[in-house]
């Protein structure tokens, strides 16, 4: 008997062990046929797989996400990997043949994100854990509370802990128990996040009992969001301002300092953008590809400066002192440049990709999110401004330039070659415009008429700020940007622009010399 029992116990144990995976296998196999059905059926199957806790679910769902899950016409599912194609059921190797990839739509992708999130929440890779925690925040089902608590007790990385706590609060909202829900509401009330607000309002619609507590939590969030919105608007205004600043800086040199009304200024910007495109294409596939954008800055400067120098020596110098003729002539040159670019590159827009460090958002402490490319453009705008100021103040070229502007004859008697200084100044201004083109290629279309959109704004900034004053250009650009953005939510993009233009017209009526008018003899000359 004893011998019998000792033989029976291991058998029983074995049975138990075999039984547990057998049940999981059932959940897995019953979900599988859904994957060959309609989008709705696929989404359902994905959700089931996400809660199945079967080790085979994860590779299957990953294959579905990457488009490596194939289906035959009879509904058999295959997984494609680098090693070959295998059948999902049975795992035997096979040929892909005429099998087609299982297609996903937004609904499936949403379900997939949640399912992968719940499966990967305990992953060993911190990046995957963070992604999973974010995904679970959005899928938020009460089933996730237990795994999230487990994950939270093990987690050591602070960023992931924060996200896990958020996701746990979100999942608690989905619980059937009001006490647990209230825990979630209390946790979410401390977050400054639009998604938290959305979740709370959604819960309010489903559970009217908690309306009072939820309203209080939402009010708390909204109070903080309002402050953040002001900061965001300010940032957007500064960002638009820095774009205007970049576009106008070159003009501040050619028009502000030299007094040349250069209608081809926008085309210099456009040339800079195309230079960026050419540098990017030249670097494609080489080890230089990640730094193509920084490399484009000197390239754009040199290209635009060269065109500017040719323009000045070849045409503009014959028209000094005749602003009307200069205006018409540069206008024509602008069109020739546009058409030339159109002939060379075609009318279609060219794609300039942003490097990874310029994509996405940057989250500041306090949860404030700023778009990376805009941050870099603000930095770049200020750097270029610094460069221009330094060149004018501290270099010999800058000194000669100021001397020629103040009194051409005396400067000439001092031995300055005024013609050469004119050419260099114009080339310098054009080169700055070319550098602006590098920045604009990141936020606007690289097309032959890129410049036309900026020429009016540039003149507006320079005249508003005060012709000949770099400080005026800076303040003017930032002010126009912030005013424009502050008005946009109330007046709409179209009306905001109109209001700004009318405002400038009235301002110029009162102060024809702009904000920072030059005083003294230089202004009279």
């Amino acid at each position: 008997m004893k011998r019998h029992l000792s033989g029976f116990l291991p058998f029983l144990l074995l049975c138990c062990l075999a039984f547990a995976p057998a049940r999981a296998q059932d959940a897995f196999t019953t979900a599988l046929p859904g994957l060959a059905g309609s989008f709705g059926q696929i989404a359902e199957a994905v959700e089931k797989l996400g809660t199945s806790a079967d080790p085979r679910a994860l590779p299957l769902l990953q294959a579905l996400q990457d488009g490596r899950l194939l289906k035959r016409e009879d509904g058999t599912l295959l997984i494609q990997t680098a090693a070959g194609t295998t059948e999902v059921l049975g795992g035997s190797a096979t040929e892909a043949g005429t099998a087609e990839a299982v297609r996903v739509n937004n609904r499936v992708r949403g379900a997939l994100r949640g399912a992968l999130g719940s499966l990967q929440i305990l992953s060993t890779d911190p990046d995957e854990r963070l992604k999973a925690a974010e995904a679970v925040f959005r899928s938020r089902s009460a089933d996730n509370i237990r795994p999230l608590e487990t994950a939270l007790s093990r987690e050591t990385v602070p960023a992931i802990r924060t996200q896990l706590e958020l996701s746990l609060a979100a999942s608690r909202l989905a619980s059937p128990d009001n006490a647990v829900r209230l825990q979630g509401v209390a946790a979410l009330a401390e977050v400054t996040d639009q998604n938290a607000r959305a979740l709370l309002l959604e819960t309010k619609a489903q559970v009217p009992d908690l309306a009072r507590q939820i309203d209080a939590a939402v009010a708390k969030i909204e109070g903080r969001l309002r402050v953040r919105q002001v900061v965001e608007t300010l940032f957007q205004g500064l960002s638009l301002g820095s774009v205007l600043l970049l576009a106008a800086l070159g003009l501040a040199v050619t028009f502000g300092v030299m007094g040349v009304i250069n209608m081809a200024h926008g085309e210099m910007v456009m040339l800079g953008a195309y230079a960026t495109y050419m540098v990017q294409e030249a670097c494609r596939g080489t080890f230089l590809a990640p730094v193509a954008l920084p490399l484009a800055i000197p390239a754009a400067f040199l290209l635009a400066a060269a065109v500017g120098a040719v323009l000045e020596r070849g045409l503009i110098r014959y028209l000094y002192g005749r602003p009307l003729e200069t205006l018409l002539m540069t206008f024509g040159v602008g069109m020739i440049l546009q058409q030339a670019v159109r002939l060379i590159f075609g009318a279609q827009n060219r794609e300039v990709t942003s490097p990874a460090w310029m994509q996405g958002v940057m989250t500041l402490p306090g949860g404030l999110q700023l778009t990376q490319n805009r941050v870099w453009i603000i930095v770049f705008g200020l750097l270029v401004l610094g460069l221009v100021v330094a060149a004018i103040r501290y270099t010999r070229f800058g000194l000669e330039m100021r001397a020629v502007v103040q009194n051409r004859r005396i400067a000439a008697t001092m031995g300055i070659r005024t013609g050469r200084v004119d050419a260099l100044t114009f080339a310098f201004g054009s080169g700055i415009a070319g550098m602006a083109g590098v920045a604009l290629s990141q936020i606007d279309n690289v097309s032959p008429n890129l410049g036309t959109g900026y020429i009016i704004d540039s003149f507006m900034v320079v005249v508003f700020g005060g012709v000949g004053s770099l400080a005026g250009t800076l303040v003017g650009a930032l002010m126009l940007g912030v005013v424009n953005k502050a008005m946009e939510p109330y007046a709409g993009a179209v009306l905001a622009k109109v209001v700004v233009l009318v405002g400038i017209m009235l301002f110029i009526q009162r102060r024809p010399r702009g904000m920072f008018a030059l005083k003294g003899r230089a202004a009279e000359a």
């Binding site: 638009l240 279609q348 994509q359 097309s447 008429n449 939510p489 993009a493 622009k497």
Partner: protein, 412 residues
Amino acid sequence: MTNFTLTRRGAIAGLGAALAMPAIRPSFAQGAPIKVGVLHSLSGTMAISETALRDTVLMMVQDLNSKGGLLGRRVEAVVVDPASNWPLFAEKARELLQVAKVDVTFGCWTSVSRKSVLPVFEELNGLLFYPVQYEGEEQSRNIFYTGAAPNQQAIPALDYLLGADGGNAKRIALLGTDYVYPRTTNRILRNYLLSKGFTADDIMEEYTPFGHSDWQGIVSQVKRFASAGKKTAIVSTINGDANVPFYRELGNQGIKAEDIPCVAFSVGEEELAGIDTRPLVGHLAAWNYFMSVKSQVNDQFLAMWQAYIKNPRRVTNDPMEATYTGFKMWAQAVQKAGSTKVDDVRAAVIGQKVAAPSGYIEEMLPNHHLSKPVMIGEVQANGQFNIVYKTPAVVAAENWSPYIPENANRRR
């Protein structure tokens, strides 16, 4: 001020292009050649969309000539460039009809350009084939509309968003460029949503100028609008190259299609060619044709196009397909009428059927519009569309929308 500069510059650029491009070739058959006018912007903000349509017409003309022309006569294209400049469209239309004396014109993309040329075509009794989806509310004896009417694009797309597969949207942001097409379409959509029980609070409407490039403010506004605890979707009637910075901003601000899907009515394969589409996977477009359609006619169309343009990677899109279909219908009608006289051809076009690349037989209806299938596609990482919804049969165009109250007494 901006417009003034654009106008002058565009006008002169357009003139230059027109002078540079008169397509005069020695004639080979008896009789004067049949002249086909091409009125598409080759410069300015709409060039991104319209240049491919010029090439499509030229391809069709070449194809017709290689098959011996029409009625034994050569077909000749006359290309002009209205340079995305609406008043210039009317001038160029007049030039085509009075100076070049074209027998038929294929042209226009934006509704504002079509509205600008309409009186010219009616006054001089010309014939225009218009290949782009539009807002409806128009019918002219001189124009054939081969693009979609609102009930063949906008309304089905909205239905998809409101349905389970589209995510049961409960809040809709209508974003558009500021001109007649987006404003009218959004008016129809707003009335449609209100009839479906939406409240005015759940609809957001914003307009921006042509070529708008700074979308930060509007995209954050949409994000705020979407945080009211109801599933939100964007319906975009943004036209031209403003779409590129718009989608870039959506990607940068992390708006995922799973959370806030954006369905566009004027973005196709050609527009996506200039964008990095990886952050946009899942955003939608509603059209009557996608390049990814599987049909025999489409395979031929693709092969023909890529051979003509000598680029195996060039894409096709819906307005190109509508141009193809319209051109075929016109050629069939000329055959049937046995002449190119506008009045004869006009009568003959109605009822013409063409096996279109969309994989369906499309027919010209007496209201000068087509019967077409409706398709909804999701953007994929490779810039193509994954067709997630398709009507089982063609849908007849309703150019007078029942969702515009003024149309209540109109005879349909």
